[in-house]
């Protein structure tokens, strides 16, 4: 079933940048630096990367669940970073930069899976 919701160029750029981020983040899941942060940290970071990837797939298909998943992942990620005292303000800035166009086009997105 082809989606009838046309994806704006801005969201396409967001998705492509997001996929590039995933490509670079994915190997970090099992990098020695991440592993040093704790036994549980690679698992959590892996979960964040996987759900970010799924959220970008949703966004690519203009699905509202993509935005919702992205927001949930963003808040979980930042909460973890606060807990481990590794907050990256640049990362927050770029995430907000991604969230703004998502919210702008949110109403034009498909409600279904």
């Amino acid at each position: 079933m082809q989606s009838t919701f046309k994806r704006p160029v801005l969201l396409s750029i967001v998705c492509i940048l997001g996929f590039i981020w995933i490509v670079f983040s994915f190997p970090s899941v099992f990098s020695p630096s991440i592993k040093k942060m704790g036994d549980w940290y690679p698992a959590l970071f892996g979960l964040i990367v996987a759900s970010s990837f799924i959220s970008y797939i949703g966004l690519w298909h203009m699905k509202r669940w993509g935005v919702q998943l992205f927001l949930i992942t963003f808040f979980i990620k930042e909460t973890i970073l606060v807990v481990v005292q590794d907050v990256n303000f640049m990362g927050i800035f770029f995430s907000i930069l991604f969230i703004v166009p998502m919210m702008v086009f949110y109403k034009r997105m498909d409600l279904n899976l």
Binding site: M1, S3, I22, F26, P27, V29, F30, S31, P32, K35, D39, W40, P42, A43, G46, L47, V49, A50, F53, I54, I57, H61, N112, L113
Partner: protein, 414 residues
């Protein structure tokens, strides 16, 4: 309950699909198996080496400063010719340190040599003998399993007594208690008064298991304790609460005054500490870890592509079944979860096999290299995490594509 039912049904669909295509399943999980094996084996070896190194460094004493002629660190601009003419630490310097160094809890003078040790017809050549002053037991970390350490009088008067390592005791005295027995060290009779507790192989060498310890005042009759080849050194342990850096600062001033060095002249001694060794190993392990990460990362990436490819093929093959399922009322999320679970299961199976091979290798390698190699809990968690992650990432796109198929078009496809 509906979720569990859905899960069960999705998993059973996935299992049936994997079982019907055994060769394809095997080939696609091979990539993940190799990837997980590569990355986890490197992490396991690095972790085990690090653990062994820390244990060895701890036995040397991480709060001990070694006053020696030569520094332990070597750089590109290492001025070895300057160090050549330095005097070796001397026994009288120990008393100056014990008397004047406020930051020192204890200190000992030590020389090491190679000797032949004999008991009746049993003889062992090239055994390491440590000749130490009395406070050695307060500077070096070791335990005595049987017998005792030297008394003050034995140390001061240089009595012919020795504490021997567990391996030596077993080799020289099979089925016999060595305490009180006389051994011959380079022909001289020495009484065994203690046996060190077995501590196993050390990554840095110099395990007490194969060493003999005698009082320095007795050793004067065996060796020349000022001989540079015996590596004379003074070991100084810091008081609790005193950092190694503070102790080094104090020892620098003290040694300069003891050796009467002019203010502008360079130090003619080296103050070494175990962190110098561990720091060098840390950087080495860091490099090995990154190399393993890159190699394993590429293997996993290839494995992930393999699974994604297989899932696309699987969706294509079962398109009309998906159409029938959807026309009978199957929801999109059911189709999605069915294929996603298949990918995760495939990846998890590959990862588990990879971890199993790592476990087997740790059992085999542990015995052959003489070092304990342990597959740690954190590495097992990491292995399973990567497997699930690969399954989700590589299986989501094909699964989502399957869930979005039009039932009518899907049924009509071949």
């Amino acid at each position: 309950m509906i979720i569990f039912g859905l899960l069960r049904e999705s998993v059973s669909f996935a299992l049936v699909s994997l079982a019907t295509n055994k060769l394809r399943t095997f080939l696609s999980l091979l990539g993940i198996t190799i990837g997980i094996f590569a990355i986890i084996i490197v992490f396991t070896i690095v972790d085990s080496l690090e653990q062994n190194l820390r244990k060895s460094v701890q036995s040397l004493g991480d709060d001990v400063v070694f006053v020696q002629k030569w520094p332990w660190t070597f750089g590109p601009d290492y001025p070895w010719w300057k160090y050549m003419n330095r005097p070796v630490p001397d026994y009288p310097e120990l008393s100056q340190i014990l008397e004047k160094c406020d930051g020192a809890q204890s200190a000992a003078f030590l020389v090491s040599a190679r000797i032949t040790i004999k008991y009746k017809s049993n003889s062992i050549e090239r055994v390491n003998i440590n000749c130490a002053s009395h406070q050695y037991d307060r500077v070096k970390n070791f335990e005595i399993a049987d017998g005792r350490y030297f008394t003050d009088i034995e140390s001061a008067s240089g009595r012919p007594v020795a504490v021997i390592g567990d391996v030596l005791a077993k080799a020289l005295f099979p089925n016999q208690n060595p305490i009180g027995e006389m051994v011959k060290i380079n022909g001289a009779k020495v009484m065994v008064i203690g046996v060190f507790k077995k501590e196993g192989e050390s990554i840095l060498g110099g395990s007490v298991d194969t060493e003999v310890l005698v009082p320095i005042n007795y050793a004067r009759s065996l060796v020349d304790i000022r001989n540079e080849d015996l590596d004379p050194q003074i070991l100084v342990r810091a008081k609790p609460g005193i950092s190694n850096d503070d102790l080094i600062d104090e020892l620098t001033g003290l040694m300069r005054s003891v050796r009467k060095l002019k203010p502008r002249s360079d130090d003619n001694f080296a103050l070494n500490q175990t962190s110098l060794i561990s720091n060098q190993f840390d950087s080495l392990f860091g490099v090995v870890g990154i190399v393993g990460w890159v190699i394993g990362g590429f293997s996993i990436l290839v494995g992930g592509f393999g699974i994604a490819n297989i899932m696309f093929v699987s969706v294509k093959e079962r398109t009309n079944i998906i159409g029938i399922q959807k026309s009978l009322g199957a929801k999109n999320y059911f189709i999605l979860s069915q294929f996603l679970f298949e990918a995760i299961f495939l990846s998890l199976l590959g990862g588990t096999i990879g971890l199993f091979f790592v476990f087997l290798l740790t059992l085999v390698a542990g015995d052959s290299v003489g070092m304990e190699i342990v597959l740690s809990k954190s590495n097992v968690i990491l292995g399973f995490t990567i497997s699930i992650l690969i399954g989700v990432v590589s299986g989501f796109v094909p699964a989502y594509g399957a869930s979005q198929l039009d039932p009518v078009e899907a049924i009509r496809s071949n």
